[in-house]
Amino acid sequence: MARLSRWQKIGLITLVALLLLVLGCLYFPVPKPHVELAPEKLWTPGGFPITNTMITAWLTIVVLGLLCYFATRRMKLVPTGLQNVVEYAVEMLINFTENVAGKEHGRKFFPVVATIFIFVIANAWLSLLPGFMSIGFWHGEGEEQVLVPLFRGANTDVNVPLALALISFVFVEYWGIRSHGFLRYVRKFANVGRLFSGVRQVMRGHIRSGMGSIFNGIIDAFVGLVEFISEVVRIVSFTFRLFGNMTAGEILIFSMLFLIPWVAALPFYGLEVFIGFVQALIFCGLTLVFLVIAVTPHEEH
């Protein structure tokens, strides 16, 4: 055979790959993917169910712990290697936090915000490795055997985003109360000051100004109630934003893998990497923004 040029070699390899693809699709039929929204329980030792997302969350914790241990083992003043990478990540996070929140608040908010970011992004990216959602146990018999995966991305379980949303909500309220005092912070939501002063004015005899104050007071109280409701609904929106993005991405990759194995899922893996990063940034960025709003001093009329 004469020497093949580089392009001819590439063309030949592509043709062989396509032929193998077509033969594989014809002779090895693939079943439809089975998707479940709720995480599957694997074992229940002593009545406590252990789901596959729980195992993956533990794996994430172990991976992050090992990463930090190996990065800080022999620390040098001028960092090299793994310590350099981890310092780069920490520096990006603290720059982001201080840009949004100012210097002293930024340093205070950094632990919670950075933890949320690192946990979400570690969960999201770890779930893209091979072995997640493919290694597991077969449940059921005969025709209706279902593969229950051993590892499943922890962000696809509603409980993990819900836990993070609750943590962010608790910290927002805690820092708001700590920087304003309990009564002044509650007064932001139960804004009945003008209402009561209006009632007092009416009782003293100034009817017209009293009624005006009562009217404004009712509007203030209503606005305060709406703000309180929006604080609570924030938990729901955080949860479903993260859960929805992660679950939709996983189902998308599933469907693409079962459509044309190997090939169709490649651009979607890239999309998932990007979406994981963006969702982690969004979660921690929104937490940071709400923290800043909660601690800025309320301007007096």
Binding site: V35, E36, L37, N99, V100, S237, F240, R241, F243, G244, N245, T247, A248, I251, V278, L281, I282, G285, L286, V289
Partner: protein
Amino acid sequence: MDPESMKWIGAAIAIGAGALGPGIGIGLLGYGAMTALGRNPEARGPIMTNMILAIAFAEAIAIYALIVAILLIFVA
């Protein structure tokens, strides 16, 4: 019509109509950000940060619609 097909149609309508609003919203946000960037290229950092934040809010609504569609297909 039997419930099976109604579920499929419902899922299609849920995500189809639910992605309209956020799509337009995100387009408007991009337009505003590009305009601001054109007027003041030095403020690139804050403009981009705030644009991404606002896009996340708008996209969350589309994700709610997607959740409803997924629930209809796989759970109901």
